[in-house]
Amino acid sequence: MKKRLYIELENCIGCRSCLAACTQCGGHEQRNRNYVYDVNPHVNRQTMPLMCLHCENPACARSCPAQAIQIHESGAVLSALVEKCIGCQNCTIACPYGIPKFDEEQNLMYKCDLCIDRTKDGIPPMCASVCPSNTLQWLTEGEIEKKQEQHNLDNGKWVTSMPYLEGATNVKVNLPGILQGTEKLF
């Protein structure tokens, strides 16, 4: 049952839980390997998580002269092998997303490896398992296909990934008058 990391960007609330989880993960030595960006800084509050996207043809691994970055059978692009990495920082330049980070002290690149110790056993990566807003999800191919279907709701006003509105209820509630722009006397 192969599962993938699925990122539903519009869910992100900018809580930085994924960063904290990555920071506190065992073996990460208090350093996170992912990012949370402001999509439009100073314009709105929308944020988006960005972690390694685990390319099919990873520029980082391609550019590595020591072949220290390996692709796991599950498709995850692993962090630099400590015994191979020569600290040349080619990968940090090659990656279009700026994912590989460099540890000056150890002269070693480190990057997200999709928590390979967990995901190889079918446990979701740390960031996905803590995300409170379902921005980061750990889904099978089938579930992702379902997610990518589009359902038009309410006369083409809304597009959702589900045939119903999430949180739709059978009780109809009006919006308070102030919000509707009308003033009610009673």
Partner: protein, 174 residues
């Protein structure tokens, strides 16, 4: 072959560039270098016994005395004559020369150039090697002419009870 390098994902299975964990070679370049260095280390360590042998020689522990071997009776060798014999083993040919009444010298007579047997030329009073005309001084065994550059290893001789005996071989001087 032309589109081999343009496929995505890159389809490769070779020794020089592999980034798939499952295609990791048993002997990659680094492993090969390690093997090389390891072999060099093994060779280095295995040469240490020779170092011990050399040290033993240099520290004089090799001053080995062989069982005394009678070469010839004093009355059978005239002054200025030589006798061939083998010492310490039967494969080490040697030569004894009587230079004067009391003075005997003996050398292992394998020439230090290419190990031809050096013989004594009575008229010239010198030892000559027949192969390349190397010459040695009979008194010291030092080379005097021709290709050899190292002295012949001397053999210590003793005269007792009317016989000449070989006692020990002086260390070969490189």
């Amino acid at each position: 072959m032309s589109d081999r390098n343009n496929r995505v994902p890159f389809d490769e299975d070779n020794y020089t560039h592999n980034i798939n964990r499952n295609n990791e070679r048993m002997l990659d370049r680094r492993g090969f270098m390690k093997t090389l260095a390891g072999a060099a280390g093994v060779f280095a360590i295995s040469s240490l016994p020779w170092g011990a042998v050399a040290a033993k020689e240099l520290l004089g522990l090799g001053e080995k005395e062989y069982p005394h071997q009678k070469i010839v009776n004093v009355k059978d060798i005239a002054i200025g004559d030589s006798v061939d014999f083998n010492f310490p083993s039967e494969h080490d040919s040697a030569i004894l020369i009587r230079l004067s009444d009391k003075r005997y010298v003996a050398y292992q007579n394998a020439c230090t150039h290419l190990r031809c047997p050096v013989y004594w030329v009575k008229e010239e009073k010198e030892m000559v090697c027949p192969c390349h005309h190397g010459k040695f001084d009979a008194g010291t065994g030092a080379p005097t002419a021709g290709p050899p550059r190292r002295p012949l290893p001397g053999i210590q001789v003793e005269v007792s009870n009317g016989g000449v005996y070989a006692v020990k071989v002086k260390r070969y001087e490189a």
